[in-house]
């Protein structure tokens, strides 16, 4: 997030697009609900499903999955036509506006409504006026923006909108992606990505490599960016990736196109899985290493608003489970390097020396202060919101973006659109939530949400077992007939190994960041006769 959770009461309006906030980030969801219901703030919700937030929205735009860019362009078209954009902000802080304006010309509400499957184009005008007239307005999004083959462009479009309205670099505004895992922000910050070291220092930059070579006392570091998860799976099948080390991930359930993933794992010469349970992925492993669960260890995690917090050990490790850092250190030592770490704090001291945005943080400070990166020096108070007065790159860059359709279109054989996501009671691949008694008791089994008219067309009643198929596979699960999804769209939560939604999903990738298009593909649904 460019901005902070505690700024929610300051925002005058909210745009929630591609985020089922009350289910997936319930605490933030409740805060936004409060601002809207009791604070009288405006809310525009854009989503293919009638999520809970839609109930409180001033305008709810129920779009077809994969049409985010069209709707955002449509909103911006209206904002410019009606002169609601912040001209002074655009002139003084941004560049590339002329190109954007030209591209937006043809995204009239009528044109966009047609692409997005919205009946009344006037709704788009109404939403644009709400967003354009409230300042500051905060945009919140989640995987409903990013998990498309046009994911990068989706994010850039949200940034376009916020720069157009002068909502970046101000308290209560911002482009606010809600991070879906407790430390996904930290894993990125720490260089758990194929192209960057910590704090996003590119591996292709010789100065950055030199810096890490000095810090790590080694002669060279590889300069070629590495593979992303989905790419590595493809190369495993081709026999070019031979060994895979998986720490606390479960690609068999979480990655698109499950059959392909399993084929890749089977093609490997050597698979190590380090986890807390024997996950579906660990079942294919050559070696399984038991790691500590979160309550059994010390360490820091970074949340969605860049706030770094210290976790303290609350329980003794179960059985012979060990700290993940101990396991990695031991393997490294056995491969011939002299690594000595006695505590998580020692590692933090090392990492902050090479990570400019964390350089001013210490365990002592983190336990006593609210610190958000960048926090470059001891004494620096941390950063509540980014891009104040100037953007990180200088001028904010507008990117003219055209709408492109998803990789797979519906056709007579696969006539419905499938979208996937999470539920309130469960989490990701279910390793944690499905092994928590109460959570699993609340929602014990998978289901597919289908609109009543569609259910009738396929002669499906609520609670019946159906099969859902795509070009990649087929699963059987219960039908849940509900008006939540848009007509012609079905929704399946992906937590359930017994009917794994990722058997169905497509592994089409965004060309730049390689994010898979989980959120839209073509499917068919059939009643299963016993």
């Amino acid at each position: 997030m460019t901005n902070s959770i505690r700024e929610i009461p300051v925002s005058e309006a909210f745009l929630i697009i591609g985020s089922n906030t009350t289910e997936n980030h319930p605490v933030i969801g409740a805060m936004i609900k409060k601002a809207v219901i009791t604070g009288g703030k405006k809310l525009v919700v854009v989503d293919p499903r009638k999520i809970e937030m839609a109930k409180y929205a001033d305008v709810f735009l129920q779009i077809l999955p994969g049409t985010n860019i069209a709707i955002l362009n449509g909103l911006m078209h209206v904002i410019i036509k009606e002169g609601l954009h912040d001209k002074e902000y655009i002139n003084s802080r941004c560049e590339g506006f002329a190109d954007l304006e030209k591209t937006l010309e043809r995204y009239t509400p009528e044109y966009v409504a047609d692409i997005c499957g919205i009946d009344d184009p006037e709704m788009i005008r109404k939403a644009a006026r709400i967003l354009g007239n409230a300042k500051p307005m905060a945009a919140y999004y989640c995987m409903g923006i990013t998990q498309f083959k046009s994911g990068v462009n989706g994010v850039k479009s949200v940034a376009n909108l916020q720069m157009l309205l002068g909502n970046l670099g101000v308290a209560g505004g911002g482009v606010n992606p809600l991070r879906g895992q407790s430390n996904v922000q930290g894993a990125c910050d720490m260089g758990g990505l194929p192209n960057v070291f910590t704090a996003y220092q590119p591996v292709t930059n010789p100065d950055a490599r030199q810096k890490f070579q000095n810090a790590w006392k080694i002669p060279t570091l590889p300069e070629k960016p590495g593979l992303t998860i989905v790419e590595s799976m493809n190369l495993a099948i081709e026999g070019k990736v031979k060994a895979l080390y998986v720490m606390g991930e479960n690609p068999v359930i979480s990655d698109p196109n499950q059959h392909h993933v399993i084929e890749a794992l089977k093609s490997l010469d050597f698979l190590v899985v380090q986890d807390i349970m024997l996950t579906e992925t660990a079942e294919y492993a050559d070696v399984v290493l038991p790691g500590c669960a979160f309550l059994e260890k010390d360490g820091t995690v970074s949340n969605t608003e860049r706030r770094v917090q210290v976790m303290r050990k609350a329980l003794n490790p179960i059985g012979d489970a060990r700290d993940d850092w101990w396991i990695i250190t031991e393997i490294a030592r056995r491969m011939g390097v002299e690594w000595v770490y006695n505590s998580a704090e020692e590692i933090f001291e090392e990492l902050r020396a090479v990570t400019p945005s964390y350089a001013g943080m210490t365990y002592e400070r983190l336990e006593n202060e609210l610190l958000q990166w960048p926090c470059p020096t001891i004494g620096h108070p941390g950063t509540q919101f980014l891009h104040k007065d100037r953007f990180a790159r200088g001028l904010g860059l507008f990117t003219a973006i055209e709408y492109t359709p998803p990789a797979e279109q519906v056709d007579p054989e696969y006539p419905l659109v499938l979208t996937t996501g999470r539920l309130l009671e469960h989490f990701h691949t279910g390793t944690m939530s499905r092994n928590s008694k109460i959570l699993d008791a609340i929602v014990p089994e998978p289901y597919v949400e289908i609109f009543p008219n569609d259910a009738e067309n396929y002669n499906i009643s609520d609670g019946e077992i159906v099969s859902v198929s795509t070009r990649r596979g087929s699963i059987r699960l219960k039908a849940f007939v509900t008006k939540r999804p848009k007509p012609n769209v079905v929704f399946i939560p992906f937590h359930f190994h017994e009917a794994c939604a990722n058997v169905l999903t497509i592994d089409a990738l965004d060309p730049l960041c390689k994010i898979p298009e989980f959120k839209v593909c073509a499917c068919k649904i059939e009643k299963v006769y016993p």
């Binding site: 996904v184 070696v287 609350a314 489970a321 933090f348």
Partner: protein
Amino acid sequence: MAIKITLDGREVECERGMTILEVCNKQGIRIPTLCYHPQVSKTGACRLCIVRVNKTMFKTACTEPVVDGMNVISCDDELIFIRKSLLNLLLLEGDHNCLYCEANGNCELQSLCHEYGIEIPPAGDIRNVRTRDVTSSEGLRREENRCILCGRCVKACAEIQMNRVWDFAGRGSHAHLTTHIQDVLGDSECVQCGQCVQLCPTGALSFQTVYGRGLEWELTKKSSICIYCGVGCKIDFSINPQGELVRADGALDGPNKGHLCVKGRFGFDFVQSPKRLKTPLVRKNGELVPTSWDEALNHVADRLKQIKTENGSDSVMAFTSAKCTNEENYLLQKFIRAVIGTNNIDHCARL
């Protein structure tokens, strides 16, 4: 703007807009409260915070704003008499027997009765037998005979979780808690965030996880950060002498400001699941079999070395974890880059 009031005969400076209770808290003067909670709005329902204002008036300190020149007495014989009477009435109305109440030791009513020296109320029938619904909800128990109608749960749901599941129904001595359209909790729209339980001052609402698993004074408290989504809620965990996790409360100093969702509240017993891995496993003859750390680590190191030598560094890939700490993520990418010699590292940021 600063104003002056007289508090227990002492002149005190305070800000306009503060309540008498807030001024007393700031001055370290204890006022008994039950319906008041800093996270929700104030109603002055329980009347226990009653104080004497300008000699002749009785006001509820939690709702009464201070005005310049106000004279406040926080405690005198008459106030003690009123507070005792109120506590006696509360005890009479419900079934408050600490012997079989899981809130024993963690009950604000119990503490106040102790503080004010309340005797056992005269024997007699409980006036209203109210709802006992301890099975319909997976996470929450409702034992309304212990309810003192303070309304904190109603406000927790309406003002923090914003769900409005709880409300009051009935009038006078028939007043009681209700969920909308009088469903049992399990059939209501409750999302089991548990905020009402966290704010309940008695044992009227409690967590299923607490029942029979240790009393307040046996529990150890430890804080950590929630393992689920990226909000980073700070949680205070309660652990019983057997080392079991029994309760999770939202911490006020986290980004969650005391709130939690159903996952943060109830999604932690996986840590102590019998399915947890307890030893390293190595595949032998097609089966994963338990082994020692030494053997497992040596095997991993040897195989990685061998594959690196035979096929080059780029034939090795690592998935690091958004569930692990910064330190662990840092170390794994260092391992892959510095020891293996490749940038093949990624995690589920895109998944």
